[in-house]
Symmetry: C2
Subunit: 116 residues, 2 copies
């Protein structure tokens, strides 16, 4: 399992606009093999911004890499450019990728994962 996150420091007065932009965006992720789920997350509030993060779970790191090289990725990001998201944020997106090493499920099962 691999988690791709993009962190956005959003100008507080623009938070509603930022949320609306994501709610209306077509992200094309579900067309990709290995896509598990996507969430738009609202994180902590700081003095000068509201943190948001996009949070995409992939079956493997290789599935994520395939997405970044896909036509769907190109389409999603071309669209993002047209929406001129920049004035909504003071910083970001800042990308962080995470490899899951260990998993605990609600039934108590615990397993070590192969990084990827």
């Amino acid at each position: 399992m691999y988690i791709a996150m993009n962190r956005f420091r959003v100008i507080k007065e623009r938070a509603q606009d930022f949320e609306q932009l994501w709610l209306n965006r077509e992200i094309y992720l579900h067309e990709m093999p290995g896509f598990v789920e996507f969430h738009l997350l609202k994180g902590p509030e700081a003095e000068d911004h509201q943190l948001y993060a996009s949070h995409t779970v992939w079956r493997t790191y290789e599935d994520f890499v395939a997405w970044t090289k896909s036509e769907a990725f190109r389409k999603a990001h071309a669209r993002a450019g047209n929406e001129t998201t920049k004035p909504l944020t003071i910083a970001g997106p800042h990308f962080e990728g995470f490899h899951a090493l260990q998993e605990v499920k609600a039934d108590g099962t615990k397993r070590v994962l192969k990084a990827g």
Copy 2:
């Protein structure tokens, strides 16, 4: 849905010890109502540290708050103290909580979530 993350900046030479500590730790989460799943994540490498994050998904924010007030939480953190994790890290844990606002699943279903 609510995601509780703790970020740890781990001294690179101690990364294996840090992973081992987590693999051997009993975290008591699956006893809690609303617990969905837990992952230990390995994030980006920086010049002076390796980023790790604990990543716990809760059904709601209220389920997370109930866990922080529980006996299970007290037990898990008392144990963490005994393990003296501090020398493994240059910083952290740094907590960040995230409310999911929007969800896209692998079958393409998209929905707005009530923050919580």
